[in-house]
Amino acid sequence: MIRYIGQRLLMMIPVILGISLIIFSIMDLTKGDPARLILGEGATLEAIEAKREELGLNDHFIVRYVKYIAGVAVGDFGRSYRTDAPVSEEIFSRFPTTFYIAFLGILFATLFAIPAGVISAVRQYSAIDVITTVVAMLLTSMPGFFVGMLLILVFALMLRIFPATGISTWKHFILPSLSVASVTMANFIRMTRSTMLEVIRQDYIRTARAKGASVRRVIFTHCLRNSLLPVVTVIGINFGVQLGGTIMIEAVFAIPGLGTYMINAIRQKDIPAVMGSVIFAAIVAGIVNLAVDIMYAYIDPRVKSHYERFTKRGRRDAGKA
């Protein structure tokens, strides 16, 4: 298992390299001179030229990229053009905010979606099933920021239960998390419902019924575990994505999280900040996905033995080389 984790982590390196190359090239194409942005409109040409030299902006694209990657390899993500603070510090200071919102959002979504999906599958075509399906359909059709605005309108402006913006108390996290939940929930509900329906049709469920197990027992001991496997993956992937910054929702609630950081950096051509946050988001998403896969192995023994074979093949190949 440890060998498998190691291999998976190693496999992330080329992906990260690829991502950084793509984003680096895109940022390079972006109009505007970072040196001028840093020094402001009034700066002299000499001063700008000196700054460019200092930032290494006059080097060839490849030289700059390689320098950057060399820095990342030793944990140096550079300094923000805007604030001159180390990018890694800025990211780490903003990450907890984003993490709380993403975690609470996914948690709310899961807590609601799994029971709803299970009930609507078990009671297929019932009123509950129809209502759940309609709610799921409605939620997938609404942009997250619009849900956020509706929540602000109702709970912050009209009812005044929760604050509309900021992050000072726990109350501030409720509405943003609910917005994250609404974006992801529909997907979870649909997934739970469809895998559950599929599992209910399986032969081993009939075998369990033939043993004399009650419907309730069959659902809890046989169906649930098997049907939640794909749902776990979907939840994991969504969590990974949300951890990278919930841009729109942070914008609605004016939350200084990773998403806001990223979008401001892009707007101001703050290349180190953009690069740092994108790479960070990719690493976080990769680690979450890996964690989900490992969890999967503990839920499904077939997957576990697949991983064991996977590493065995790795060893065989290593032996040949």
């Binding site: 032969d203 081993y204 075998t207 004399g212 001991t221 023994p301 077939r302």
Partner: protein, 331 residues
């Protein structure tokens, strides 16, 4: 007189779908005595599995319904039993084995726990160590070393999986075992091993069995009595000796025998039955086999032939034979 463990009278089962109604079982009468093995033979869509699911009361909810008839198992009328009562009966008085061993076991639970589950459900008084001992015993009984109980289904071959399914079915020593094509998905040599083991266990535990199959060879090798199903009806039944060693058969049964390539007999051409089974959504008025029957008479298309509902002798549901022919003449 021998007591009948299972008695089915005039069982009718329908499936209701959005478009139409499927008449799957149309008046089945049969009985199984204690310790006896009955072969239930027929082709796809004949209603064998539906009959079995009706006995288990496991017809698909919302679509499958027992329309009429009685199923008496060990003195209890199953058709009137509540779901709660059925839970106590299933796995305990009657168990069922399904066709495909590859999908009959839960992939995420160890085989030992899957065997233990049925014991937990029905033998609640047993202590956990007794339970564990019973699981070991069952595994050894079906020929799997008990140290493999902590393994998962995917670690076993098809034949081994079917052995585990059999262990689950027999764990509570049921009075009746329904085996739905238990060996169809297996290779011949494995089929042979599994059938022999089932026969052996059945005798040791004194279980009665309904063996559903399409293979007359399997019936000849394992069953005491046989019932042949066609289009939701039993068209012939009797002891295997009566059905196999005779020339007096239902035309469909003759057709079935003619269709099997027999390794003991050298014949160049087979004598199959032409045509197909009638559409179960609109069953014919007369005999279900009328369209395909080489010996059909005018009356066969109008009136369904009768069938003795009592007695266990060789019976044929055809206007050409026995009771039926006589009563047909009389009316």
């Amino acid at each position: 007189m021998n007591v009948n463990l299972l008695e089915i009278e005039d069982l009718r089962v329908i499936y209701k779908t959005d478009e139409d109604t499927i008449y799957a079982v149309n008046g089945v009468d049969m009985s199984v005595k204690n310790g006896e093995t009955m072969g239930l033979v027929g082709e796809t869509g004949a209603g064998k599995t539906t009959t079995a699911l009706a006995i288990m009361k496991l017809l698909p909810e919302r679509t499958g319904f027992i329309k009429s008839g009685r199923i008496t198992l060990d003195g209890i009328d199953i058709t009137r039993a509540t779901e709660h009562e059925m839970e106590a009966i299933r796995g305990n008085t009657v168990s069922m084995i399904f066709q495909d061993p590859m999908t009959s076991l839960n992939p995420t639970i160890t085989v030992g726990r899957q065997i233990a589950e049925v014991l937990q459900l029905h033998e609640k008084s047993k202590s956990s160590s007794e339970m564990a001992r019973s699981v070991d015993e069952m595994m050894e009984l079906v020929g799997i070393p008990s140290h493999r109980k902590n393994e998962y289904p995917h670690q076993f071959s098809g034949g081994m999986k079917q052995r585990i399914v059999i262990a689950i079915a027999l764990a509570c020593k049921p009075k009746l075992l329904i085996a739905d094509e238990p060996t169809t998905a297996l290779d011949v040599t494995i089929q042979d091993q599994v059938l022999e083991m089932m026969n052996d266990l059945k005798e040791r535990l004194g279980t009665s069995m309904i063996l559903i199959t399409h293979d007359l060879g399997v019936v000849a090798q394992t069953c005491d009595t046989v019932a042949i199903m066609y289009a939701g009806e039993i068209i012939e039944r009797g002891r295997v000796e009566e059905v196999f060693d005779t020339q007096i058969r239902h035309p469909y049964t003759s057709g079935l025998f003619g269709s099997i390539p027999n390794i003991k007999v050298t014949a160049r051409r087979l004598n199959p039955i032409d045509g197909l089974m009638p559409d179960p959504a609109s069953p014919p008025d007369g005999c279900g086999f009328y369209e395909r029957c080489p010996k059909k008479m005018e009356m066969c298309g109008k009136k369904p032939p009768l069938f003795p509902t009592e007695g266990n002798g060789h019976a044929i549901r055809c206007w050409l034979h026995g009771d039926c022919a006589r009563r047909g003449d009389g009316s």
